[in-house]
Amino acid sequence: MNYAGEKRFTIWSSFSLVILAIFALFIIYPLILVLCKSVIDPQSGNFTMSYLTKFFTRKFYWSTLINSLQVTACATLLAAAIGLPMAYVMRSVKIRGSGFLDILIVISYLSPPFIGAYAWIQLLGRNGVVTNWVNTIFGIQFDGIYGFAGIVLVFTLQSFPLVYMYVSGALKNLDNSLNEAAESLGCTGFERITKIIVPLVMPTLLASSLLIFMRVFADFGTPMLIGEGFKTIPVLIYTQFMSEVGGDDGFAAALCVIVIMMTILIFLAQRFLANRNTYSMTALKPMTAQKITGVKNMLSHAFIYLVVGLAVLPQVVVIYTSFLKSNGGQVFTGGFALQSYQATLFSKDNDVIWNTYMLGLVSITIIVVLGILISYLTVRKQSPLNSALDMITMFPYIIPGSVLGISFLFAFNNPPLLLSGTALIMIISFAIRRMPYTIRSSTAIIGQISPSMEEAAISLGATEMKSYTKVTVPMMMPGVLAGAIMSWVTVISELSSSIILYTNSTQTLTVSIYTEVIRGNYGNASAYSTILTITSIVSLLLFFKLTGKRDISI
């Protein structure tokens, strides 16, 4: 869109500058501090390439990159392959209990750190319930989900909700008459997905795949627990940074540089593809879920329920575990008891719940406001400045949370920017780390909205700002909400940077889960995790109640 007054300095340019300044301070500056280490020899203070050379010359190290790429590519593809049809089926077919299923799907994205993967071990580990069951019934020697396949499985089930949410939001903006046109031209259900739906939601699909790619690429929790010998680069980074034995910060920083480079490449590729595949539509007639009958109906239900069932399985296991009777929270002795809840809910001080939601709420507010603005700027007000903004806002997502946490401590522990130990630093790290969800989905959706809507508003005398808030933002809502919900869910389950940044007064539920997990008290951890799950379900329900939305991906 070209406005006549575009070239001049507008209110939008000042927004760009302010946001850029914020990100420069909270991303670029701490990052530079960390990244400097990757090329500076700590002893001599001279420039050195030795870390990078070390990585690329030793198979021991570079193989982790290959591993990561393999796992990430597989999981991303599978997540897209599951999430997309899920979204399509849920949008086009009336599924029983779809509102409830929606919540379950979101909740399965809220995979509590460590404990989610651990739940899989309980089910599919060498001594897992399902493993034993399968092995006795079929008389085979299934050796658990460890290694490549297991990581891919867990990542896939953990990630598809994101594709689902995003695509679902995008489908909402897709004009159904396109679907109908295809159908009238003889296109069957399946072909319609591949020929019409997929290309049209491509920007969204790419955006969500990008996020998954980056999330999976940077996640260390899952491969750490079930990777066994299969080491990925985030695990390597984590162990180098967090080594108890004396890791090598410089090397770890160099690893970060490599990860960041990789993800920037992926990001650019995604942007290139998404820009080429954006088609604006105005859905006066969006798709509506139809009641169908017969085999198709059964298959649709079976597919949805199976996937959702699998995805929430870890949560179920965790909740189940939280009610088990145990010795010292470690060894389950059979039978049920509320002891884990006694040890968590009732005996310790429960500020953690309050903290989680307080910090979360403040962060999500910042996320939504900035996210909507940034996406608008980058799509509608294209300029080098805003492209830079688009890219920079992705950085915090790319960088392993623990690295970000450390760099924050590093950068903001001196006056005048003495932030460490405050709630503010937690909020900032939540906000900038989880903002990409909202930005990506908003960016994708905004591309779908026909600029003529804004033009209409402007022609009616709305200022650009007004037309933005009154017309564009409400129309973006399906996408923004999809992203905001994902942001929310991940904010309240954020761990890797909060574990570095939290203090007693800002301890969150996830930190509590983590601290219980690392000392093996899975009973208490499960109880905390259950509290997290339940309170977040409540928060979602409350949200829908307040916004008057009936289905979650509106």
């Binding site: 001594n127 162990t239 080594s243 590093f410 007693n504």
Partner: protein, 331 residues
């Protein structure tokens, strides 16, 4: 300029410190739960605990060095921390005199309070008739792929286990001898490509029946035994390493006086005794009785030529060498 230099020292008008203390702890929950409330009650100082993994806490202390937010680092040991002495305040507790000779605060920084020897944890449901008494038993092909072992380059407990293994198999007890590393090669081969990335997963994995044996430290392993898990603790017949898990005051901290009280409290007769009686860590004060479910200290064989200072100085060389061996084992 660092925070400690400014005028806003958290002192009350009377020149007294605020009654608070921030403790970074990686210690087990049972230990925390036993010690901290007692300390609070006794001294009236409110303890704010930051609980995380050893590595994360070390990193935190390092990152905060210009403006420390914590007072006490209650994690790791001298072997691991010696190289970053500058982060800590020198303090020798008056109680130090009562500690066992090997565990006196000779450096001036690290007050060893409890010990956590390296052990083998064995799942009794899974071992069947496989004998697991020693490191040598771990290269039994019957255990191939069933050993839980952490990454010695990142986990301190795994590193200690590796050290024990090296001392046990080294020629004349020389951990850097070819024989020692030849054994490590065999051990790596028997791991069958499986190496855990978190030390917690080692004992948990064995207790859950995911692995048959694991190399870990005594506290969690014994705790499983105490809580009735199907595991037993084996002190390898070749010997064990007996690191003195220490408590240290962070340099430039806001509440050094409270911190000192905390160190004193840890080493006090009362606490040491109670821990010995009720928990699964070993107090290091002289003449403290252990609970009867613990292997008596006397029956644990230690390596005679174990040299903590040398290990501490060479830990990077050792991990690098281990990684090299590991790399070679990958095709």
């Amino acid at each position: 300029g660092c925070g400690s230099g400014t005028s806003e020292k958290p002192k009350t008008a009377a020149g007294q410190e605020e009654k608070v203390l921030t403790v970074y702890t990686a210690r087990s929950e049972s230990l925390n739960n036993l010690v901290i409330p007692k300390f609070e009650k006794e001294t009236g100082i409110k303890v704010e605990m930051i609980v995380a993994g050893t590595g994360a806490l070390q990193k935190r202390v390092a990152s905060e060095k210009n403006n420390p937010l914590g007072d006490i680092l209650w994690a790791a040991d001298q072997t691991m921390l010696n190289s970053s002495k500058e982060l800590f305040m020198q303090y020798v507790s008056p109680e130090d005199a009562n500690m066992g000779d090997a565990f006196k605060n000779k450096s001036g920084y690290f007050s060893a309070a409890f010990a956590d020897p390296t052990v083998i944890i064995v799942n009794t449901n899974l071992t069947g008739d496989i004998k697991v008494d020693s490191f040598a038993d771990l290269i039994n092909p019957a255990l191939k792929g069933k050993i839980a072992f952490g990454d010695p380059a990142s986990s301190s407990s795994s590193f200690q286990s590796l050290m024990a293994m090296l001392y046990a198999n080294g020629k004349d007890g020389d951990p850097m001898s070819d024989e020692a590393w030849a054994f490590v090669d065999k051990f790596i081969a028997n791991l069958n490509g499986k190496m855990l990335n978190s030390s917690g997963a080692v004992h948990k994995g064995v207790a859950d029946g995911e692995y048959t044996v694991g190399l870990t430290w005594e506290d969690p392993a014994a705790n499983y035994v105490k809580n009735g898990a199907p595991v037993k603790v084996v002190f390898p017949s070749e010997g064990a390493i007996f690191p003195g898990e220490s408590v240290q005051i962070i340099k430039g901290c806001k509440h050094p006086e409270n911190a000192k009280k905390f160190v004193d409290f840890m080493l006090s007769q009362k606490i040491q005794e109670q821990v010995g009686k009720e928990l699964t860590v070993r107090p290091l004060r002289k003449d403290i009785k252990l609970a009867d479910y613990m292997t008596p200290t006397a029956s644990i064989k230690l390596f005679k030529n174990y040299d903590e200072a040398w290990v501490s100085d060479n830990k990077n060389t050792i991990t690098a060498k281990f990684n090299e061996r590991l790399e070679k084992s990958m095709k």
